[in-house]
């Protein structure tokens, strides 16, 4: 869907992005992870030509974006930013309708679409359609921002630290909302963040940037297995690396095929080892029962297996 081919961006002597080659498969969430100043936003903004590469090229659907008319290109790519950037003098409905109106949809179709989108991002259309942005909480505003980006049903979504300014509870709510929307719509999403937990929660594939260079890419599990040294280890935090690794492994993979005892705390079959560890700590129990689901026959997870060397 997106291909960066040897892409660089220089500002005078400063190299913001340094020869990055990266492929984002259709329908996946690719998270660009890095500290501030690592070039992740700059890299992302080259996709909709808000930044032009100094060298290399960016392909969307096999076509070089440099050959596309910038405004037309952007109308086909959803764009969500940290500070949301809702138009303060327009009502929520008008904000969401921005791109459909630019594309010349008729009023009835726009109105229907606005209501569908408000519903998709979990806001009551009747209640929110006519509000002004200053009447929204931070989380609500970003839900509207997401709806605006999705309005014309673009196949591709660029999200630049969209949840970083929100408090942790709101952030988790929006992360799971995004996961659901992704499952429902199958959009390709390029997601920029500096938050390791967020990256691990959302990513199908991770790309780690450090000082403008791509230093690691792959699934979160494989990336953490290999992260014994270097910038990846630093970005994930060397003390909590093992903990983050648990988040990438399914709890069911370590369960013993014993009949689940009724008196044990229950862990859902799709939980990660990190969630298992949290539940053990919370319940003060060294064993957890995992019920059967799908191909998994059910079993018991033991503390000893969790801490055993792998």
């Amino acid at each position: 869907m997106i291909r960066f081919e040897g892409v660089s961006r220089r500002y005078g002597e400063q190299v913001a992005v340094d020869r990055v080659t990266l492929e984002v498969p259709r329908g996946s969430i690719c998270v660009l992870l890095g500290e501030s100043g690592s070039g992740k936003s700059t890299l992302m903004r080259m996709v909709n030509r808000l930044v032009e590469p100094s060298a290399g090229r960016v392909l969307v659907d096999g076509r070089d974006v440099a050959g596309a008319e910038p405004e037309a290109l952007r109308r086909g790519i959803g764009y969500v930013i940290q500070s949301v950037g809702l138009f303060p003098h327009w009502r929520v409905g008008d904000n969401i309708a921005t791109v459909p109106r630019l594309l010349g949809w008729d009023a009835a179709r726009v109105a229907r679409r606005v209501d569908v989108l408000l519903d998709l991002v979990g806001l009551d259309a009747a209640l929110f359609r006519d509000r002004f942005p200053h009447e929204l909480s931070g989380g609500q505003a970003q839900r509207v921002g997401l709806a605006r980006a999705l309005a014309a049903d673009p196949p591709l979504l660029l999200m630049d630290e969209p949840f970083s300014a929100l408090d942790p509870g709101t952030r988790r709510g929006l992360q799971s909302a995004l996961r659901e929307i992704h499952a429902e719509t199958g959009k390709t999403i390029l997601f920029v963040t500096h938050d390791v937990e967020e990256a691990l929660t959302l990513a199908d594939t991770l790309a780690v940037l450090d000082q403008g260079r791509l230093v690691a890419q792959g699934s979160s599990a494989s990336l953490l297995q290999e992260a014994e040294k270097g910038p990846v280890r630093r970005i994930f935090g060397k003390e909590s690396l093992a903990f983050h690794r648990l988040a990438t492994l399914p709890a069911s993979s370590l369960a013993r095929p014993e009949d689940a005892r009724q008196d044990l705390p229950m862990l859902p079959a799709d939980a990660s080892l990190k969630q298992a560890l949290m539940l053990m700590l919370a319940e003060g129990s060294a064993c957890l029962a995992i019920p059967a689901e799908g191909a998994f026959p059910g079993g018991t997870l033991h503390w000893a297996d969790l801490v055993a060397p792998r």
């Binding site: 808000l50 405004e71 086909g76 500070s83 949301v84 303060p88 003098h89 630019l102």
Partner: protein, 246 residues
């Protein structure tokens, strides 16, 4: 609001009454043979005065706004200090001097007055428009570009509407400056509330000078009152554009 309307009404009544108060002017200036100003109707003078001020403000608004838009575009940013000092210089020249300098080129009448007023009123419009356009949040502009709006559409639909309250404030200042300053146009032969002052000075008729001065000052006070009303923050917030900071 009531105060303003009351003052305005009183002003109009006084304009209508002035020619009929011959005994008053006679009592004040016993040595003057024709103390009543009757060359032109006061209302005709008022109308021409306001036309001059409004016309000058309109032209100043067009020039100031264009300069502000130019100065806030990426391509025009380098011109900004130059434009700012040009407009400051234009305002620094006293209108009476601007009129005197323009007289040989433009002749007597309304034209040199109009020029002087435009020079005088363009700066507040430009300054306020630049401030208003600068205050549009960067995130809003980034989002507008990101949704695929072109530069012209961003200016018309996002930047100008958001800057409007600040631009309006500048326009009001310009209008009040123009109304208060128009009277000097009388020295160049422009008909306005300053005409009786200049004519009176030329003829040694202090009664005319007094009447012209009172009405000129009175009108400026009314304009200033209206300006204050327009700048009242409570009223400005009600148009929904100046969203309270979150």
């Amino acid at each position: 609001m009531i105060l303003l309307l009351g003052n305005l009404l009183l002003f109009l009544v006084a304009l209508a009454a002035a020619p009929r108060l011959g005994w008053l002017w006679q009592a004040l200036f016993p040595g003057i043979s024709r103390p009543v100003w009757d060359s032109q109707s006061w209302f005709a003078l008022l109308a021409e005065h306001l036309m001059l001020a409004l016309g000058a403000t309109l032209i100043a608004a067009l020039i100031g706004l264009s300069a502000a838009i130019l100065a806030t575009r990426p391509a025009g940013r380098a011109l900004r200090p130059l434009l700012d000092s040009m407009f400051s210089l234009a305002q620094a020249v006293p209108p009476i001097a601007a009129i005197a300098l323009a007289l040989p080129l433009m002749g007597f009448g309304a034209a040199p007055t109009l020029l002087a007023l435009v020079l005088y009123a363009a700066l507040p419009v430009m300054r306020s428009a630049v401030a208003g356009l600068d205050a549009v949040p960067a995130a809003v502009l980034d989002a507008a570009r990101g949704t695929g709006m072109g530069p012209g559409r961003i200016l018309a639909q996002i930047e100008l509407p958001l800057a409007l309250p600040v631009i309006q404030a500048g326009l009001r200042v310009a209008l009040v400056l123009a109304i208060a300053t128009t009277a000097v146009g009388a020295v160049a032969g422009a008909r306005c509330l300053g005409t009786p002052i200049v004519t009176g000075l030329a003829n040694g008729n202090l009664s005319w000078v007094l009447q012209g001065a009172v009405f000129t000052a009175w009108l400026a006070v009314i304009a200033d009152q209206a300006l204050r009303l327009g700048l009242d923050p409570e009223r400005r917030r009600s148009n929904g554009r100046l969203a309270p900071a979150r």
